[in-house]
Symmetry: C2
Subunit: 350 residues, 2 copies
Amino acid sequence: MVLYVVGLGLGDEKDITIKGLEAVKSSAKVYLEFYTSLLGGSTSVERMEAFYGKQLILADREFVESGCEGMLEESKTMDVSFLVVGDPFGATTHTDLIMRAKELNITVKIVHNASIMNAVGCCGLQLYTFGQTISMVFFTDTYKPDSFYDRVKSNRQAGLHTLCLLDIKVKEQTIENMLRGRKVYEPPRFMTVNQCAEQLLEIEDIRGEKVYDENTLCVGMARVGQDDQQVITGTMKELVSIDFGAPLHSFIICGDMHFHELDFFNSFRINKENKFAFINWLNAKQFEAIDWLNLKCGDQLLAQTHQPKLYGNTSAFQKIYKLLKSMNNNNQQEEEGLSQLFNIVETISP
Amino acid sequence: MVLYVVGLGLGDEKDITIKGLEAVKSSAKVYLEFYTSLLGGSTSVERMEAFYGKQLILADREFVESGCEGMLEESKTMDVSFLVVGDPFGATTHTDLIMRAKELNITVKIVHNASIMNAVGCCGLQLYTFGQTISMVFFTDTYKPDSFYDRVKSNRQAGLHTLCLLDIKVKEQTIENMLRGRKVYEPPRFMTVNQCAEQLLEIEDIRGEKVYDENTLCVGMARVGQDDQQVITGTMKELVSIDFGAPLHSFIICGDMHFHELDFFNSFRINKENKFAFINWLNAKQFEAIDWLNLKCGDQLLAQTHQPKLYGNTSAFQKIYKLLKSMNNNNQQEEEGLSQLFNIVETISP
């Protein structure tokens, strides 16, 4: 007898793999975990049941966190499928479940699928330049956990991107209802890109270690892997007020970007004309160049934050962007590039 | 007209999603990229063609790196599917292809799937505690690129795990054949876990910054996501000589492990009795405790490397492991735990 743990991917009922569908169809009982994530808006349990040809037993938070004892017991005498959104190893709770099943000598078969951890690649940032992932929970007046801040700091110091997984509150009780033992649940809540950006800035205000600021480049994403997926790039401040629509949302704080990554980034700008260019490549000469660009072009062209970057849509910007890109592609000498850059900016009237 | 870029996942022809299969079946032409990765050993192009009901056009390195111009042109007048092992955003070359298609105003639809970047979760290490991924290429006598070393260093300093993607050489020419313009290709080569461990140790020998050593805990993996997948954990030195069988192999250099991760790690030991326990949690008191354990137990119980760890199968080890685990689960005070640890070790006869 087998316990199949089947990843459903990120979209709808058709993102299951053939192997996963065969497991579901061959199982005597099929459970659907539905509190750590959710499939796309157009999908419903009824649609999934119709497509899979199976009745789904809903496994909520209580079910999973209390150990899924009944399901594990059943797995000893019949084939059982446990369906999870994304990949089976995306959430710690599922990993624990698999460990418990192993300890009970239950045969476990995993059917992998896409998870947000790899599907974020669709924004054009390379997966191997991400540092550790953080989780952002809903702040309250008295509860603002900021342990993520140190992880973002460590990532940014190494030039790495940070994926932020955003909080989901499903089947939560108010403290009053919990104390009174009333099984009354609050409506589900899903953190938005806007809330994440706000909370990030709030913690930077409190901690003040200049890990990032409102000019830091970020990516907001919604419904990744679904037909109406949305990717919008901008500064952290810009992302506070852009409407990304229905859940689930995800957030990325960019690290150093390669020019190929930057091309993608600029293609996802709301105002596509207003591009960004990094001058990371300047290395040792960077500070000299920045001082000088600042003197010459002022705030109109240069945002002097942790990652010095140029932005705008002036012809000066276009020229510099083109130069930086060609230098990056051809591995030209830093010295030579710097001198060309100086020549271009010399001709700019302030 | 649409260019579908379809992830095939990691196993065989049945790891495609329903959505992916529908895209393939509706396409006038179907290309299979087959040089950055490969599907499981039992799969063949013929089996895939039979299952998908489509003829596959093989896209090798030359095809992809020269820009897939013909395929992009076709996508303007017919639906085309481009199949890649894993997820479409796993390899930089595919990301570039998607960018080029966008620039040509071709409608691109992505069908996500599992990639090695998320499927490595099957070893029990949590995906959000991985740092940046590195690539390990085949060394030659004169070419031993070591830029990965700094990235491993940065990951390990932050306590993070490092996934190493191992080199694949498909359709490579010898320099002589290349110079003579002879299209004669060498047999494919796939880096093994053993070769990766050896090359890592070779670079540590040269660089000598004590980023890791032969006692560093690592995970060797083969054929992840396939039926005969293999996961074996051990020290870097142990993994030099364990046979993992057919490709593809992957390698992880462990960072700090949570006890839940350690449970998985120990369950994948070749010699399951010989477990490891970390004493990371000791924090400030760590060095005092290590000195003292060293004095009391010597090399038999304590491996004093970057991550001080206990190992073995003695009753003393079992007691300490149990204590550390219960402390970790209950968030007991460090002071109290340390004193209990001292009590246990006091009773050990050296």
